[in-house]
């Protein structure tokens, strides 16, 4: 699967859940390419902005879409890596800010 195919596949499924790709398509395709790199590396699509432990069970919470997407989009209008955003964020109604890491430090087991 290439990044364009992944885009088509995820766009429909995630929009139905109320999560939209960032309006910056170039950035989105870069992130999707990174997800494919991680799938090749680790066997699962770990968040491209977090260091995976190479253990699927330990990384379960950061497999995209990560479990922090919901609270991040609810609070900031964007997930940690800016791949998924709310409709309002894409419309410029929410300021673009750096989304702080929500994953608990205890989860960072390497």
């Amino acid at each position: 699967m290439d990044k364009e195919q992944l885009y088509e596949m995820l766009e429909r499924a995630q929009e139905a859940k109320g999560y939209y790709f960032n309006k910056d398509r170039k950035k989105v395709l870069e992130l999707l390419e990174s997800l494919l790199i991680n799938r090749e590396r680790y066997g699962y699509m770990a968040c491209p902005c977090r260091l995976a432990s190479e253990d699927r069970e330990r990384d379960r919470d950061i497999i995209c879409p990560c479990v922090y997407r919901e609270p991040d989009v609810a609070e900031f209008g964007s997930c940690y890596c800016n791949l998924y955003v709310s409709r309002e964020w894409n419309e410029g109604k929410i300021p673009e800010t750096y989304v702080p890491e929500r994953r608990p430090v205890e989860k960072m087991l390497f």
């Binding site: 992130l31 491209p48 902005c49 890596c81 750096y98 890491e101 994953r103 390497f110």
Partner: protein, 81 residues
């Protein structure tokens, strides 16, 4: 800042790390960069331990400028240093 050593710990796949590199390049700042996701074995472990000393959550990018630590893609923070 020109006299300080700048160290960037990054992930090759991370968009915030890419943005940080572009920003530093645009400012003409010279820096050393380690892409931690490309390391393996003991080299990876050792670097992670180094990062944890300054940033316990081991998040990226982690930037060390002299004795200052910046976690995340903080242009405003970087500019102040």
């Amino acid at each position: 800042m020109a006299d300080c050593d700048v160290m960037l710990y990054a992930l090759s796949t991370c968009i915030h790390c890419k943005n940080t590199k572009e920003y530093l390049d645009g400012c003409g700042v010279k820096y050393d960069c380690v892409e931690v996701d490309k390391l393996e074995g003991d080299e990876r472990k050792n670097i992670i331990e180094e990062i944890k000393k300054v940033n316990p959550s081991c998040s990226f990018p982690t930037i060390i400028i002299g004795d200052k630590i910046i976690v995340g893609s903080g242009r405003k923070k970087s500019r102040r240093l």
